[in-house]
Symmetry: C2
Subunit: 397 residues, 2 copies
């Protein structure tokens, strides 16, 4: 199973490299669209960075590094980010310049690209981080960049949606594996960039108990799951006036190092889906809806959270859809506010149908995975595997 | 999910074609090992057949065809088999001639190849099926061939085992994807060949209620599962002196068209594994072992059977092993008797560690699949998906 995200990341990485080469070639030969709006030397700088190797870190590394956020370490962290972030941003710019089906020229995608270019420029023109004062100024820049990119996902979704409308042949549209693969890699990269920035910013915040930046060293999956269940049931109650029960099994005292906001996001998504399925299936109120079961399992390598419902499931042939960015059930995209900037938590993507694929990326980001198996006519089981050791290096598309 | 077996079959099919081309080229250029023991014209005939396209049928087709096993239809069926079986056998001979790592020259593999060659020759030299008498003689030949190939799986397993012993570098041995892929295709093809032969033979037997040959038109997965549970618990009781309970959920009266012996084999395998896991985890007798749960779900496309245990599961990293033909936990191969020839049922492969991969092939053969998800530290869930419509054509590696 671990091979799936690795292979996907590798494929995405190959794709990214190919895109860089193609974009660089275009840039060298006749200028890109980018060259229309950005000075030549910056375009060259971007493509030079797009050819550099990205440097991944692991959760364990972030923990070790942030264990003592003394000033010297903050300066070192800032220096790493000033070197690393332009490389990661440049990879994405090169990709955004070379998307198939004309996606690159959609206004929303151009806007996203411009954000990446602006952030690249600002990081590159920042004079350097040699002391605490400069580190402070650099962290202000990071906060600014973090806020700028807050709405990347909905904007990209609008771009993809516009493209879909354009391409009328639906059966063709549903089979745009390059777009899907690009978005998987693009969003995975975004998770990494925001984790790195969020972690650096969080090291400046007043310390929270058992936290190193965004990472909780004693994260209880049982407790996070319970919170996510409460939140999801609240929303269900608001929408339906009632909500099925959720039984939770496992050891409440078990804890491991993880990012609670990521975990909350993923479990919330799974429980929300199960609540909706059960609610919709038992909406006549004639039968007591069967409770959703959430199990927290503690293994040597993995912590696994299983969410099982008897909401009727979906046919096996429908499963690819739940992972797709190309089927949206949303009526119209909702503009998201960026008030959660400092939390490091992912945006709520309700209405985009992106909940499951993005949750899977959060899981894979730290070496885990998300699997869904459905039994048509009965219910669905979701398995969230989390790498317990935190020693897996970020996948870098 | 349906894409997995299709892709695997396609990959295996490509591999088979490549093997045929290579073998044919070798045969043309300088003679094969085969040419040492078999007359030239037969070698040529085999490779000519190995280049022909195999013709797949669906469960639905077998049902429709066998619905009225009047003499005329038996003759037609025999004519189809006389044409089709040599093609399928020849594909396998060509593959067996071209296996990597020297597997082709292992005595056990040579023996299997010789069986395929012998059956090919007998079918090719059979004069023709034009009437009932000739059909009777042809069916006798089929019975003979069916018996001859009874022990193909253990013999191949011994060949692979011998190869493994030879290659001392274990980490290398565990990564022989070509061998795994070949065996998946080879055994899948064997399932198809034996199904076709078994079905033809069974049409000669006294008719059983609601059966068309080996296919039961009113196969109750609940009932077959209950029988498989009883059989697996008997074995567990014999081995351990005790056996965990198995609770079964679903509608006993629901029925669909399937081959009960295949279904029994797969469910027996899954329940047996769960019983063993639970028994081993709770062997101190201090705690009551939690019951295994078996759910039969009835969907529009699929019938799904889920077997869940709390036997402690296995780590995610260990999952590839359970599908591998290259890890055997058996001490020594057990020679199987061929008394089950006419039953059309698969051999019991206890001790080979082949239970799960072979069960998955049985599922895929009729368009289904078998998935296993494990929660380390908790338990394992197995999902057996069966195509309910029976309209999927045999995958033909």
């Amino acid at each position: 199973m671990a091979a799936i995200p690795a292979a996907a990341a590798m494929a995405a990485s190959n794709m990214a490299r190919a895109a860089v080469r193609a974009a660089a070639a275009t840039a060298a030969a006749c200028g890109t669209r980018l060259a229309d709006s950005v000075p030549r030397e910056i375009v060259d700088d971007i493509f030079a960075h797009a050819l550099k190797k990205q440097t991944g870190v692991s959760l364990k590394y972030m923990l070790d590094f942030g264990a003592n956020p003394i000033e010297r370490q903050l300066v070192l962290s800032a220096q790493f980010l000033q070197k690393e972030l332009p490389v990661r941003l440049a990879h994405r710019v090169a990709e955004l310049e070379n998307l198939p089906y004309g996606l690159s020229s959609k206004p929303q995608v151009l806007k996203v690209r411009d954000w990446y270019v602006e952030s690249f420029q600002e990081l590159r023109s920042f004079p350097g981080v040699r002391n605490v004062e400069e580190e402070g100024a650099f962290t202000d820049l990071l906060r600014h960049i973090y806020r700028r990119h807050a709405n990347v996902v909905p904007l990209m979704a609008m771009g993809v949606s516009a493209l879909k409308k354009e391409l009328s042949d639906k059966s063709f549209v549903t089979e745009m594996p390059e777009i899907h693969q690009f978005l998987d890699g693009f969003y995975l990269s975004r998770i990494g960039i925001r984790m790195l920035i969020g972690q650096h910013i969080a090291l400046h915040e007043p310390p929270k108990a058992a936290h190193i930046g965004l990472i909780c060293t004693k994260c209880s999956p049982w407790q996070v799951a319970q919170d996510a269940i409460n939140d999801a049931r609240s929303i269900c109650l608001r929408e339906y006036g009632t909500a099925p029960d959720v039984s939770i099994y496992g050891d409440p005292s078990f804890a491991f190092a993880y990012v609670p906001s990521h975990l909350h996001h993923m479990v919330f998504e799974l429980v929300k889906n199960s609540l909706r399925a059960v609610q919709d299936r038992f909406d006549d109120g004639e039968e007591e809806p069967p409770p959703i079961r959430l199990v927290v399992a503690e293994g040597g390598e993995d912590v696994t959270i299983k969410v099982s419902d008897e909401g009727g499931g979906i046919p096996r042939s429908g499963l690819p859809r739940i992972w797709s960015y190309l089927y949206s059930t949303a009526k119209s995209p909702v503009q998201l506010d960026d008030s959660v900037v400092e939390s490091g938590g992912p945006n709520v993507l309700a209405g985009y149908g992106y909940g499951l694929p993005i949750s899977r990326l959060y899981a894979r980001y730290f070496g885990g995975d998300l699997q869904i198996i459905s039994m048509e006519g009965y219910g669905t089981d979701a398995y969230l595997h989390l790498n317990r050791l935190g020693n897996v290096q970020e996948p870098l598309p």
